[in-house]
């Protein structure tokens, strides 16, 4: 669960440790109504959300932030978006890094919702149970997050396209 929120091993382990400590101290409050896994997931979700809320998040994701690898990844995907390209570990790492930075533009709650629904194919009901939110709240969050991420990606692609055009224009002028 913590791995959905953080990518750095140290942060994941820190969050997981806190979850175990909380679970241990609050074991008495577990009434056995739901599954133990669900109870633990709820604790993990709340702990990770609190940690993310406390951390300062980036508000905008710009083209200048893109590394060369990330640019290459986008090139490959844009050339044939629908086909499944060769997935090397390195490519996957680049994609995950890019995704993480894209998700950082969202609030922790929206980020969690989108990751669970669009990433892990969880249903609205499952996310509602996991987080303790109402189903309508989950739907609204998913809609908002999807919209924001798509807009951020669109903006990134259009700026990137303009940048590439400028670069190719200056190259042809140089020739």
């Amino acid at each position: 669960m913590a791995g959905r929120f953080f990518r750095q091993r140290s942060l994941v382990e820190e969050a997981a440790q806190e979850v175990f400590l909380k679970a241990f101290t609050q074991l008495g409050s577990y009434e056995g109504r739901g599954s133990m896994e669900g109870w633990l997931t709820r604790i993990a979700t709340n702990t990770c959300l609190n940690t993310l809320r406390a951390a300062k998040r980036r508000t905008e994701f710009t083209v200048s932030d893109l590394t060369e690898d990330e640019n290459n990844w986008l090139d490959e995907k844009l050339s044939d978006v629908s086909s499944e390209l060769h997935r090397s570990a390195e490519r996957q790492f680049v994609a995950a890094d890019l995704a993480d930075r894209l998700l950082e533009t969202l609030s922790p709650e929206d980020r969690l919702t989108l990751t669970l629904i669009d990433g892990e194919d969880a249903s609205v009901k499952e996310v509602a149970e996991m987080t303790g939110w109402s189903e309508s709240k989950v739907k609204v969050r998913a809609f908002r997050a999807r919209k924001r991420v798509r807009e951020a990606m669109e903006k990134l692609l259009s700026r990137r396209g303009a940048k590439l055009q400028v670069a190719s224009g200056s190259e042809s002028a140089g020739e």
Binding site: V12, A95, R146, V149
Partner: protein, 162 residues
């Protein structure tokens, strides 16, 4: 552009959950409409990225379990009241000190002869050492004459001495 824009369809549900007819509508519209094509591409890329992000798993380090158990122990220790923790760490020392004090008190007040207050003078009188002899490092028996020697010196016959 007579058709309705399809951005709404892209935002309402995830791409994988779109029906065949919805997908056909989106693709057909995206061919002619630039903003919707861009939105569709962006949505596809975003979904791909999120899937890649979720596919990434982080294995815990081999020391993770040890660290968690140590943190649990520390937390349990912190939950114990301060006085109890102090007693745990210094209990043996404190109780041994208390026992020693009690034993000393018993010897001082209850032992026979104790508490009569043998004065300093009495002790000095009993002792064959005077303060002067101790300071000058003299043996008290060195220069002291016995009573017989004193009497014989006083009453000695002068002629005999000559």
């Amino acid at each position: 552009m007579k058709e309705k824009h399809v951005i709404g369809i892209l935002e309402n549900s995830q791409l994988a959950n779109l029906t065949e007819s919805e997908l056909l509508t989106v693709r057909g519209h995206a061919e002619d409409c630039l903003p919707c094509r861009r939105a569709y591409e962006a949505a596809q890329l975003s979904t791909l990225l999120i899937k890649e992000r979720v596919a990434e798993t982080i294995e815990p380090s081999p020391f993770f379990q040890t660290r968690v158990l140590a943190a649990l122990r520390e937390q349990q220790q912190n939950n114990v009241p301060v006085l109890s923790r102090l007693w745990k760490s210094a209990g043996v020392l404190v109780s041994s000190m208390a026992l020693t004090t009690a034993a000393l008190a018993a010897f001082s007040f209850l032992a026979p002869g104790a508490g009569t207050g043998a004065s300093q003078e009495t002790v000095a009188a009993l002792s064959p050492y005077s303060a002067e002899s101790v300071v000058l490092d003299q043996d008290p028996s060195d220069d002291q004459m016995t009573d017989e020697q004193v009497l014989s010196t006083i009453y000695a016959d002068p002629d005999e001495a000559r």
